[in-house]
């Protein structure tokens, strides 16, 4: 047997569990729901499918989904790149705090982000009070919320590479007569291209499939495909239309992933890298200090103001400051909104998220170990792509697919507690892989060989060489998986039983009810959710691996 075939077989053995997991809990439910929509009464419903695609309303949704995702991605890159520079190349007091702070929005549940911007831009919000301007139910609100949400993706992904790029390359270009801007554009930007492309891909996927944020801010006029899928499935019970929309979204995402994969592979070039921290320096000129100050001010406005508004709205009512909303969460039994005391949503969320994190770590970890092996070629790239797909697939479809496909033996999970954690793990797996894979790939093969020659068996090589290096990455991956599970909304909203709501589900239900006490409780719950997410993320920021991750 050749070495290459051995490698491919090892990879497949390691990837067996992840593949099985994806087949049962991702491919099967999605295929079932698509079939359910397209294949009715023993015949393919091509006509219905075609009429859905021909519907001007659907085309409008597709157009809106695409342009708002492109606008959000472009704007996030435009403001995120200077931010990445400031946080990766300039040294200033309080930098690690700022770095942690800008990450908070990313781990916030989309429902909370929507709520925060509703508090800021909606009627009765800050902008309304001060300038009489309301932006809710406008594309502007959606795009701004998306920038808020994804700013950290650009800052962290691009900054991770930028902080290690050898500054002498840019200096060499300037010595050769290039202006600063030209040196950046011709030397640094191409070197950053893989990270910029990765960040753009993530932001595009997140915003293209955005659900919670658009659901809250879009109003009746603006919907993404994901929101439309939810509407067709849950409100109109038009499964054929939902199936067509799911396939449409899936197709766009697949094309984007393939284009990205090809572009990145062609771009791989040798980069001059320096140790982390070597390329940083304090700002030197007045211009640089102004640039730094401007960026910090922007981060403060972008990140702090919406979060502060959320906190403010949770502790004030029309009659002044109050803790009534928080008290209401913990007082009393269930009512018609939640059926259970609201605080139970917190314990539900935590329990689901812990289980989902464990599942995501095991499945994503095994997949990462498999993918990190060299010489896996086409098989490895295919697996990599497959693992990214859950990010770009309609969470609503996955949720509803779970309901209709995992409902009979041997897999009857309808009444099982596991339904929600399994769906949440699916969303967490891409994050685990994106965090662990770069670190595992950075472990030099030489070290593994050195350990083997010194008498370490393959298993001990993994334990003695790989594990100590990825331990921190595992913690970070766990944090992402936990935060993402905590905030998962699209699938959970289908799967959580009425008497077992999670925090995002409860928030959405409160928001769906009129009355100050309901809105207030939604805000209070968002604050709690934000605190839990932020606390888990800040703990992990302290444990951040020195190696650059992709997120």
């Amino acid at each position: 047997m050749t070495r290459r075939r051995t490698t491919v077989l090892t990879v497949l053995a390691l990837a067996a569990l992840p593949l099985l997991f994806l087949a049962v809990f991702f491919a099967y439910p999605v295929v079932r729901i698509v079939l359910l929509g397209l294949h009715q009464d023993g015949a393919w419903q091509w006509h219905a499918a075609w009429s859905t695609l021909a519907d001007p309303g659907v085309r409008h949704v597709l157009w809106f989904t695409t342009w708002q995702a492109l606008a959000s991605t472009g704007l996030t890159l435009a403001v995120g790149l200077p931010g990445a520079y400031v946080l990766s190349r300039l040294r200033f007091p309080g930098r690690s705090l700022v770095r942690a702070l800008v990450t908070v929005p990313f781990v916030l549940p989309t429902v909370v982000v929507g709520t925060a911007f509703l508090a800021l831009l909606g009627s009765g919000g800050l902008l309304d009070d001060w300038f009489g301007v309301t932006l809710d139910s406008t594309p502007a609100a959606i795009v701004i919320a998306h920038v808020f949400f994804n700013y950290a993706v650009v800052v962290r992904t691009v900054g991770g590479l930028w902080s290690r790029l050898d500054p002498r390359q840019e200096e060499a270009a300037m010595v050769l007569g290039a202006s600063r801007w030209r040196a950046w554009r011709t030397v640094t930007l191409p070197a950053l291209a893989p990270a910029v492309a990765a960040a753009a891909l993530m932001v595009f996927l997140f915003t293209f499939t955005s659900f919670g944020t658009v659901q809250i801010l879009g109003g009746p006029r603006y919907a993404t495909l994901e929101v439309e899928i939810y509407r067709q499935t849950a409100d109109l019970l038009d499964l054929p239309a939902a199936a067509v929309l799911t396939l449409l979204q899936f197709a766009v995402v697949l094309v984007v992933l393939l284009v990205h994969g090809t572009a990145v592979r062609r771009r791989t070039s040798a980069l001059g890298m320096v140790a982390a921290g070597q390329a940083e320096r304090p700002p030197r000129s007045t211009g640089e200090r102004l640039f730094l100050a401007g960026n910090l001010l922007f981060m403060a406005v972008l990140v702090v103001v919406p979060l502060a508004m959320l906190v403010l709205d949770s502790v004030r009512s029309s009659r002044g400051w109050t803790l009534a909303f928080f008290r209401a969460l913990f007082a009393g039994g269930g009512d018609s909104t939640l059926f259970v005391p609201p605080w139970q949503a917190i314990t539900n969320s935590l329990r689901f998220a812990v289980l989902a994190t464990v599942v995501a770590l095991v499945v994503g970890g095994l997949a990462s170990v498999a993918l990190a092996r060299r010489g896996t070629g086409r098989v490895g790239r295919g697996l990599d792509l497959l693992l990214m797909l859950p990010l770009g697939t309609s969470a609503v479809t996955v949720g509803f697919g779970f309901l209709i496909s995992l409902d009979r033996p041997p897999l009857d999970l309808r009444s099982s507690f596991w339904l929600v954690p399994l769906a949440q793990a699916l969303v967490g797996i891409p994050f685990v892989v994106r965090t662990m894979l770069p670190v595992l790939r950075a472990v030099s093969d030489r070290l593994r060989e050195a350990a083997a020659v010194l008498g370490a068996s393959p298993w001990r090589v993994w334990r003695e060489v790989d594990l100590p290096m990825v331990r921190r990455a595992v913690l970070v991956a766990a944090g992402f998986a936990f935060a993402v599970s905590l905030g998962e909304f699209g699938a959970t909203v289908f799967l959580a039983r009425p008497d077992q709501p999670t925090l995002p589900v409860a928030i959405a239900r409160f928001l769906g009810r009129a009355g100050e006490i309901n809105t207030g409780q939604a805000m209070a719950m968002s604050v709690i959710l934000m605190a839990v997410s932020a606390a888990s993320m800040l703990t992990l920021e302290r444990l951040r691996p020195r190696e650059p991750g992709e997120i």
Partner: protein
């Protein structure tokens, strides 16, 4: 019984042979250098012996046992990597103790052994130092101590001194030889530097394009390079086609005396630079102008001269500083029979 036998070993990457049917033996206690330019297959040979690179054909035997189905961690050989490959998550002591732990050595015995080896490589108090604080030379010593710790039956070194500066290299190569001789270690060392190979080894194997071009003691190699490649790789440039008959050869430079026992025929003729002697102008038949002179220093006050003879290709000669003519002057050249080697064409 040989310690190591490489029997007709071949490795191909794609279609390109990296190791082209190589045979090699190594006796217990012997120090052998593999010398060759980059891409000649020497590192591949080490990796094959360590079990890190599967063979396409042939066998590798250690103590006469075929290693085909023995994985690297059961071969009992040591390998010191070119980039040292020290474990960054462990300190110096943790690196040196690694192999001992893998072989199940008791903790106290392992600690004694680590202290002993760090003393041997001249870093007696470094056990608790992090790897990142070590200089290149210190890393090299730690890598050596780590490879020696489990007492491998064969120690292999891949460009052990490659990244160090010249002065340190010359000192370390002496130290390495002293350590190996004292411990009786069998060593297979790969290098592209002939000085390093000659100083370290009892026997030198020159590799070229995945094949063994010549094997011999350093003196044998220097006296009688086997072919044009080995001669040029050792730095010899005075090579011309020649036809020998009766103790003399006809060359582009004119007649050159050749070893008396040489059979008549066509050869490639090499004159070592020391054999190009400057003579009084009227006594010799070949005149040459001096185009450059490079002072080499060293105890012999050696100077290398570049000569442009009136016929034939450029010549390189060495002489003492005091005898060196200035560039631009004309000298007469004579050839020393003892410094002439006839190579196959």
């Amino acid at each position: 019984m040989s310690l190591l036998t490489v029997d007709d070993a071949a490795v191909t990457f794609g279609d390109a042979p990296a190791l082209d049917h190589v045979d090699l033996t190594l006796e217990p206690g012997e120090i052998v250098s593999i010398l060759g330019p980059s891409g000649s297959g020497k590192s591949t040979l080490l990796r094959a012996v360590a079990g890190l690179q599967p063979l396409t054909a042939g066998r590798i035997l250690l103590d006469d046992a075929d290693q085909a189905s023995t994985p690297p961690h059961r071969r009992g050989v040591g390998l010191m990597f070119q980039d040292h490959a020290l474990f960054p998550t462990r300190d110096v002591g943790g690196n040196v103790a690694f192999g001992l732990r893998m072989h199940g050595a008791p903790r106290a015995a392992a600690e004694r052994r680590v202290a002993e080896l760090l003393g041997l490589v001249g870093l007696p108090d470094a056990a608790r130092r992090p790897i990142a604080t070590l200089s290149g030379g210190e890393q090299q010593r730690v890598a050596l101590a780590r490879a020696l710790a489990p007492s491998p039956r064969l120690l292999m070194l891949d460009e052990p001194l490659g990244q160090l500066d010249r002065g340190l290299r010359e000192r370390l190569v002496q130290e390495l030889r002293a350590v190996f001789t004292r411990l009786g270690t069998s060593v297979l060392a790969v290098t592209h530097d002939q000085g390093e190979a000659f100083a370290l080894a009892d026997r030198v194997v020159v590799m070229h394009d995945g094949r063994i071009a010549q094997t011999g003691t350093p003196q044998e190699l220097w006296r009688r390079p086997a072919d044009e490649f080995v001669a040029r790789f050792l730095g010899f440039g005075n090579l011309v086609p020649a036809t020998a008959s009766g103790g003399e050869a006809e060359t582009p430079w004119g007649p050159v005396p050749v070893p008396k026992d040489a059979a008549d025929g066509r050869y490639l003729l090499l004159v070592r630079p020391g054999g190009v002697r400057l003579a009084a102008p009227e006594a010799a038949s070949l005149r040459a102008s001096v185009t450059a002179r490079t002072f080499r220093g060293g105890p012999a006050d050696s100077v290398t001269l570049a000569l442009d003879p009136e016929r034939g290709p450029a010549l390189e000669a060495t002489c003492r500083l005091g005898d060196a003519p200035v560039p631009g002057s004309t000298v007469a050249v004579a050839f020393d029979r003892d410094e002439v080697v006839l190579l196959p064409q």
